[in-house]
């Protein structure tokens, strides 16, 4: 994909994070997406979230498939290792990379075509493996890069630019994630950075698969009247089910109980997700309750946003596989090769 290098003049007044880096240090090359594309706003939220978490850039692996959305890893953290793979195949590649080196922070960027059509199977199975990754679906209801065909997330009755109505039921990544046992599920809106940044921070801290579906309007092919993924429609229909704060470890936690009875969730690394506001009877740690809440609201045409579900107790791929705490690639060859005398002994079984 084309990318343009940005000038990196840093204003002295810019704030620095724990690593002494400014937010500019987490930017990437200049975006080549359409002006106003939702994906660019998600990129900005990611830059913010990663900067706030003070992640060392080279310890980040950012991977994607193919699509406008999948181009965006080029636009954030140029010091991170990037892998723009093939359409729909980001999840397996991230799985292999994570298997080899669990010490990196994995960020997967995908589109609704990438994740809900061609790569749907891979995403489902990455969820089942509880692969530790922030998995973002930049969801615009269309295939942007191939010029506006309906994607599998297009709502029933949503109209294309040519006024055709979509007649097939959508695949909703949130309900799918809930039914597959995803351990972290959120939905955001590219137009609401305030909400998105803490969600992304919590997602990158989660030990396991963090599914973040972000409604991200495609201004060129799906932002017209009759589309349910337009800026206007989403602004009108979005309802924040939860309001969250992300509190880094060692920071004093003020609220231990959320406002409407929702509990705070301690993350694996000691940080906390605090739910500042949730509806009565909503518990983001109770899968069934979340599921029925989502069904009910969806029936009303609402787009429910927020950190919707979290479970920090499920082992991730490495814990299930009982691998070392450090990266597999760090195990020296001498430990991996059983040696000639073991081979000699073993062959007594082959007589």
């Amino acid at each position: 994909m084309p990318s343009i290098t940005k000038p990196v003049a840093v204003h002295p007044s810019l704030k620095r994070n724990e690593l002494g880096l400014t937010v500019r240090d987490y930017e990437g090359s200049m975006s080549t997406l359409c002006a106003g594309c939702g994906h660019d706003s998600i990129t900005a939220a990611l830059v913010r979230a990663i900067w706030e978490l003070s992640l060392p850039p080279h310890m980040i692996a950012k991977l994607s498939g193919i699509g406008c959305s999948s181009k965006t890893p080029a636009y954030f953290v140029s010091g991170a290792h990037g892998f723009n793979s093939a359409h729909g195949r980001m999840a397996p590649i991230a799985t292999g990379a994570n298997a080899a080196n669990r010490e990196l922070t994995y960020i997967g960027i995908s589109g609704d075509g990438d994740s809900l059509s061609i790569g749907l199977g891979h995403m489902c199975h990455a969820i089942r493996r509880n692969l530790r990754i922030l998995y973002v679906i930049e969801n615009n209801g269309v295939y942007g890069l191939t010029k506006g065909q309906f994607s599998a997330s297009a709502d029933l009755g949503s109209r294309s630019k040519r006024k055709e109505a979509n007649r097939m039921a959508p695949i909703d990544p949130v309900s799918l994630g809930l039914s597959l046992g995803a351990t972290f599920i959120a939905r955001g809106f590219s137009g609401d950075k305030e909400q998105l940044v803490p969600i992304l921070k919590a997602a990158m801290t989660h030990r396991g698969f963090a599914l973040v579906d972000v409604i991200s309007p495609c201004v060129t092919f799906n932002d017209h009247e009759g589309s349910t993924k337009s800026y206007l429609h989403v602004r009108q229909q979005a309802r924040a089910a939860t309001e969250t704060d992300f509190v880094a470890p060692a920071t004093e936690i003020l609220a231990t109980i959320g406002k409407n009875g929702a509990v705070n969730v301690t993350m694996h690394d000691g940080s906390t997700v605090s739910f500042k506001g949730v509806p009565p009877d909503y518990d983001p740690t109770d899968r069934e309750k979340v599921f029925s809440f989502m069904q009910e609201r969806y029936g009303k045409g609402e787009i429910v946003t927020g950190l919707l579900y979290i479970d920090e107790t499920v082992p991730d791929l490495h814990e299930m596989s009982d691998t070392p705490d450090t990266a597999l690639i760090k195990v020296p060859y001498e430990k991996l090769c059983p040696g000639s005398s073991a081979l000699e002994k073993l062959q007594e079984d082959f007589r």
């Binding site: 080279h58 692996a61 010091g79 990037g82 793979s85 195949r89 397996p92 080196n101 691998t323 059983p338």
Partner: protein, 612 residues
Amino acid sequence: MRTGVSISSPTETRVNDFAVKLANVNGTGSASANGLLMQAIFRMGIPVSGKNLFPSNIQGLPTWYEIRVNKDGYTARALDYDLMVAMNGQTYDRDVSEVREGGYLLYDSTWPLDPKLHRDDITFLGVPLAQMCNEQFRDPRERVLMKNIAYAGALIAALDIDMDIVEQLLDEKFSAKKALRESNRKALRLGLDYAKEHFDPLPFRLEKMDANRDKILIDGNTATALGCVYAGATVAAWYPITPSTSVMDAFKEFCEEFRRDPETGKNNYLILQAEDELAAIGMVIGASWAGARAFTSTAGPGISLMNELLGLAYYAEIPVVVIDVQRVGPSTGMPTRTQQGDLLECAYASHGDTKHILLFPANPHECFEFAPKAFDLAERFQTPVFMLTDLDIGMNDWVIPRLTWDESYKPDRGRVLGAEELKQITQFLRYTNEDENNVAPRTLPGVDPKAAYFVRGSGHAKSGAYTEIPDEYREVIDRLARKQRAAAAFVPPSLVVKKPGAQFGIITLGGCDAAVREAVDVLAASGVNADFLRVRGFPFDAIAEAFLEEHDLLYVVEQNRDAQLRSLLTLETSVPKEKLRSVLVYGGFPLSARRVIESIASQMGETLAVHH
């Protein structure tokens, strides 16, 4: 000299030179009876091979097992059966017809023989197997299983298999299951005593030798898995498929034995059972990108699915090791039958201009030897490497020289810039600074901020940046072609056997090796001398090129319909097409020397004085 496929006079007793075929119903436990016979003969020190011809089914369909013993070491599949053990009514007519003239057929005489199937030129040996087992065993399942053990007993008597060795094997096999050992022993006795009492000595029999002192009995998939363990592979991703499944089964077993960290108790490996082969290859790519030695094992249908990402690995220059245990295609084909039908698919896997490195082991010994080589080449050349075995190599037990391991082996991790090297440079540009093999150094994630770059399967310039500019695109893709060609000097060298006054050359690969070598010797004994070459890798090396150059006529022996090796030779060397003739055997069973000789003889247009 007696050679592999000729017949000796029926009056003399042939020692350690005959073939037995056992016709069974699958799922009845015949495999353990047949394996017992094979292993006992191996321990008697006699060159032996066992070929399992089995259906794609769990229970109830015909399955055969062929045992060939040959004191001179010719153990390719033989088509002349001296003895048929006919235990399957469904295939009885065919089995009777396959016995060579003057041969023997052992059958269950509990029921009368169909007189229509009688042959005057063979001897029928009836053993009331079912009747004896029904009298001696009560459980219906046990009766079925023990019938097979009982015929093994009859063969032990008829062929002179050393009973002490058999007893020893039973002790080892059933060391923890005394009751089973006793019923096996009892069933063996039934057959053995019956045969001793009722049969005259056969004109062929076994006699102890000492040919197997430094040999082992192992299948290719197990050897491949072991090779991957020794190579230091830590990540494996796969989707189950016959005939490659046992590669990963064995890898897992070896890892459980050798890869549990003695200090931490943790697993120094991670095996991913993927959702499909698209994912399996993706996982391997991801793991290799991150710096692990990673591999997948599959068969033709899996390679078809992997095509997309193989192109990504090729173009983005990521090491990948693919084990392809070939089976009969196209499509699902015949999953439990052998073929060499994936050559072209692997050589040029994926869309666009792609060309890969292939290795062709011929037996389990080379599977073990080539597996680390595959990783070395993949990492040195930063590209996919395919190791092509097949069902015959992978799933049958072969007698091979003991495996050895060179303690001085160091994995060739190729050009990877570490933290120190990165300090020396001001800027890292992914596809620059190539070496004499046209390989540019790569970096691994997590080492240094300077090492970061953006991997892409889209058009890129040598800096690694996206490009749509023709010259920039060509510069990279042309280097990839040169890089692949450079690998010719690194693949395992072709093997050549020359005969004085050779009239032509024979070229083959992989699992055809034993049958073709036998054919060459049989031809020589009949006065037809041929030079032999086995290619062991692609791109073809200088030895293969010279061999093609030196001969005016060459027969290319391979197991597929479309002469894929011949095609590859004509496409990738300067040999004129007219020089190459084909010997193609692709029905799904392992190759026999007879098929090779017949084909060459008929193409030579003269009757060769070869008996078979």
